[in-house]
Symmetry: C2
Subunit: 174 residues, 2 copies
C-alpha cells in the first residue's frame, strides 16, 4: 500500500492547474474532437470532473465519516453532465473546476484529522464495504484516468496524420 | 487528415507548462515510482523529452528541408538519456525542457514558411520515405504519448490502494 493523504492531496490540488496549462487557449478542434459516436470530448470530460466534485467525492466521504446506521453511498449518475446545457467555454469550465476542487480539499482538511479514520467504511452499491483510504486513493486515480483520457482523445485526432509512426506511439494503441 | 501547423504548435508549446503544473512540488514518491524493472520513472520521461529536442525533432526536420542528396535521418538513440548522470532535480529538468522546447519552436517558425513544404520527404531508417507533415504530427502525438505515460506510471503506484475500484479506472487497464 502506498496511500498517504498528503501525497494524495498533492495530486488532487494540481489537477486544475495541469488542465489549465494544457487546455486554455487551444483551438476548438482540440476541445471538440472525440473518439467517435457516444464518446466524450475534452470539454465533456471537464464537465464530468466538475460533477464529481459536487455529487460524488465529498458526499461519499461524509457518509463514511458519519459512522451512522446508513453507510450506503448516495446515488451518483456518471452521465448526468451530458444532459445539461453545456454553454460555458472551456476556460469557464476550468475556472469552475478549480473553484470546486479547492472547496473539496478545504473540506477534506476539516473532515480528516487522524489516520485512524482511513479504515472507516461505507457501502458501495456494487462492491459492498469499502474503506475511506480506498475511496481517497480512487479519487486520485480517477483524476489520472481522466487526464489520460483527455490526452488519448486529442491524440486520436492525429491518428492518420502520423503516417507510419503510428506503431511507435503508445497512446494510439487501444 | 487533421494536421494544421498552428494547431500542432499550440500543443507543443503547452507541454512544458502542463508538466510544470502537474509535477513541480510533488513528493519524491511520485517522481521516482516506475512500472517495474526496466521501466521509466517520471524524471526519466522528462529526460527523454529533453533529449528529443536536442537530437531528434529539429535535426530530422532540417534533413527534410535541406532537400539535398542525403535525406536520411541522423541516428537517434531513444535510450541515450538513461546512460547519462541524472543529477538534476525534476524542477531543473522541467526548466531545461521549457527552454529547449521554446528554442525548437522558434526554429520551426524560421524553417517553415509555406504549406507546400509539408509534402517534402526524408528517409526514415525503418519506414523509408516520410513526409514533413507526418513528422510534425508525430512530434505532437509523441508529447501526448509521454504525458499519457507519466499519468499511467503515477497511477500504477496506487493500483492496490484503490481496492475494488480498480476495474472502474481506465488508466489501470494495461
Amino acid at each position: 500500500m502506498n496511500f498517504n493523504l498528503n501525497e494524495a492531496i498533492e495530486v488532487l490540488e494540481r489537477t486544475p492547474q495541469t488542465l489549465e496549462g494544457f487546455l486554455i487557449g487551444l483551438s476548438d478542434g482540440w476541445i471538440e474532437t472525440n473518439e467517435g459516436e457516444g464518446t466524450w470530448n475534452v470539454s465533456e470530460v471537464v464537465d464530468h470532473l466538475i460533477e464529481g466534485e459536487k455529487t460524488n467525492w465529498i458526499p461519499r466521504i461524509e457518509v463514511i465519516l458519519n459512522e451512522g446506521e446508513n453507510r450506503s453511498f448516495p446515488p451518483f449518475d456518471r452521465y448526468s453532465h451530458l444532459t445539461k446545457e453545456a454553454e460555458s467555454s472551456i476556460d469557464q469550465k476550468l475556472a469552475e473546476f478549480k473553484k470546486v476542487r479547492a472547496e473539496s480539499l478545504a473540506r477534506i482538511k476539516e473532515l480528516i484529522g487522524s489516520e485512524e479514520q482511513f479504515e472507516l467504511t461505507g457501502i458501495h452499491p456494487a462492491f459492498g464495504e469499502v474503506k475511506l483510504r480506498e475511496l481517497l486513493s480512487t479519487w486520485v486515480v480517477h483524476d489520472l484516468t481522466h487526464l489520460s483520457q483527455i490526452v488519448r482523445v486529442m491524440s486520436e485526432r492525429y491518428r492518420s496524420d502520423v503516417g507510419p509512426w503510428q506503431e511507435y506511439l503508445g497512446v494510439l494503441k487501444r
